[in-house]
Symmetry: C2
Subunit: 338 residues, 2 copies
């Protein structure tokens, strides 16, 4: 079996560590592996398939001889993405740097796998809250054309990486002990609170996170006619984002039909049996790769409406798993640069 | 100044205690005060205006000589409501027992105060999640007629009373210490989790909580043509419910116009200055009486759409404050039974 040289940039962070774990779990045909990060994390030892690797500071030469470069997020792909491509590595980028670039495919493997084929060196991984929503929307859109989506999110602190998790742990302890919370990562205390503010504010007083859910979804579906509005909210949960999604379709879809469409779609697990208290919850979907859908109901406030509740581990399906699935498509289609 | 004899049924619970506090704070003209509860809480001492009162077990005679009976919730109003009315006390009931009874007004004082006038002995206090939503909807409905509402809630554990709060505190401590959570009040662990299930499941797989938001809102607005769909979710927050509300109106309302309408409406405080990180959050609205509105945005997924984020202390405005405000209207209109 052919093997491919893989470099992970940002290996020491929450998404980076998960990328290593998922390459192992999915038995990706890794030849040489290189782990890179900022100079701050360089020198750290990490394990892959039981073998220790030393994290190196990223330089343009980190990409020499590599087939695939997985960027965990942040500004690194802006700095090193072009250098990686020049050296022949296909960049799979989890940051927002290239997502809306018309020359860069934005891919969710269950939804638009074929878009991998036209990449010019960089393939973008969508935002976590977009990925799980678009997986849920796709089978409904194919069956009945989606006209409009209203979504409210409940996003875990790990969306802000390892520091987000640490902040929730330490704040919760401080508050329980009767002390004060001192927010650093988030705008305000997140323990026992909600913050309706993720990423920066932009046009029309929507946050960048909210606009991502609109524009990335339209790009992935190749359909700007799908109207979307979003409210994104940080909640005191460690892992897994949840979304209350209201969908208006052109053709009627009953709850039973929607359930069947979801069940037949790859990457979705339906958990929807209210009588037996079965519905997705972040506590029980963490460390899993699927998008979990429940509370599937017709919305009788309009003729063709549906309500669904969608939960997924945003570090896995919302980031690392999706990126490795894209790498698998690059292998499948042979879309390498050399 | 005339004084009125008041009995509180369920005085020992979270809402009951808040009722006592609010009668004090608002300087309600209380003559004789009687505190009643189940036999389990009888004998407990509680303070009102610095004076100790002993909680008595509720009996039909508890209402003898009383002008107003405030029922904090639960089944008590079913058992004792008619007896209270027979003895001449106006019942203000925070339970769901009589809310949808066409012979019982369902009142939010900022929205439909006049409905107090036609009561026949019982006035119902709406559900907490309904109260804060309908306060926010009313000025928009008056100005531009609301056609449809899509709401997703983020509801605090104190919606389940004192036991809900205790469960979040103890579970959070257990989980932080590496132990197991043992859910009693809620269906699953609520610490660091979300549960999309409040009250029992009913028609079309919606919960009773979700239907309350639909039907109570229509009753309070006297307008069944307002189409509403809801998804209600329990979150690990102590106090104050939050709601992401999407509104479609008949006439266009700009964000600036909506903000002005809210600012001019009684009982609403607008907190909406994204550039300065100003938006409502449950941590900072608890123990306050107003409905806080922020994240006011036009929704360009439809011609006449608005998104708002609404937070209020559901034990105060969502229950006790609203009930005492109703009692104030009974005094104002002189709508006593004797």
């Amino acid at each position: 079996m052919e093997q491919y040289n893989v470099v992970i940039v940002g290996a020491a962070g929450a998404v980076g560590q998960e990328l290593i774990r998922i390459l192992e779990e999915r038995n990706f045909p890794v030849g040489e592996l290189r782990l890179c990060a900022t100079t701050r994390s360089a020198g750290k030892e990490m394990l892959f398939r039981g073998k220790p690797y030393i994290v190196e500071a990223t330089t343009p030469d980190s990409f020499q001889g590599m087939d695939i470069a997985l960027f965990a997020g942040g500004a690194a792909s802006k700095e090193f993405g072009p250098a990686a491509v020049e050296r022949g590595a296909v960049v799979i980028d989890n940051s927002s740097n290239f997502r809306m670039d018309p020359a860069v495919p934005l891919v969710v493997p269950e939804v638009n796998p074929e878009d991998v084929k036209w990449h010019k060196g960089i393939i973008a991984n969508p935002n976590c809250s977009t990925i799980q929503m678009v997986v849920a929307l796709k089978p409904i859109h194919d069956a009945a054309r989606i006209k409009r989506v209203v979504v409210a999110t409940y996003q875990a602190v790990s969306g802000a990486g390892r520091e987000g998790i640490d902040e929730l742990v330490s704040q919760t302890g401080d508050v329980l002990a009767g002390g004060e919370a001192s927010p650093k990562v988030f705008q305000y205390q997140i323990a026992f609170n909600l913050i309706p503010h993720i990423d920066v504010f932009m046009d029309m007083d929507y946050t960048k996170e909210e606009w991502k859910m609109v524009r990335e979804t339209q790009k992935i579906l190749h359909d700007d006619s799908v109207a979307i509005t979003a409210t994104t909210v940080r909640v005191p949960v460690y892992r897994s984002h949840s979304e209350a999604i209201n969908i208006e379709t052109e053709k009627k879809v009953t709850a039973a039909e929607a359930k069947k469409l979801f069940e037949e779609f790859p990457g979705i697990i339906v958990l929807d049996d209210p009588a037996n208290k079965k519905y997705p919850m972040p506590l029980f979907t963490s460390n899993l790769d699927e998008v979990f859908i429940g509370r599937i109901r017709e919305d009788n406030s309009i003729p063709n409406g549906l309500n669904i509740w969608v939960v997924a581990d945003q570090i896995r399906k919302g980031a690392a798993t999706n990126a490795v699935q894209i790498a698998e498509l690059v292998v499948k289609y042979g879309s390498f640069l050399k």
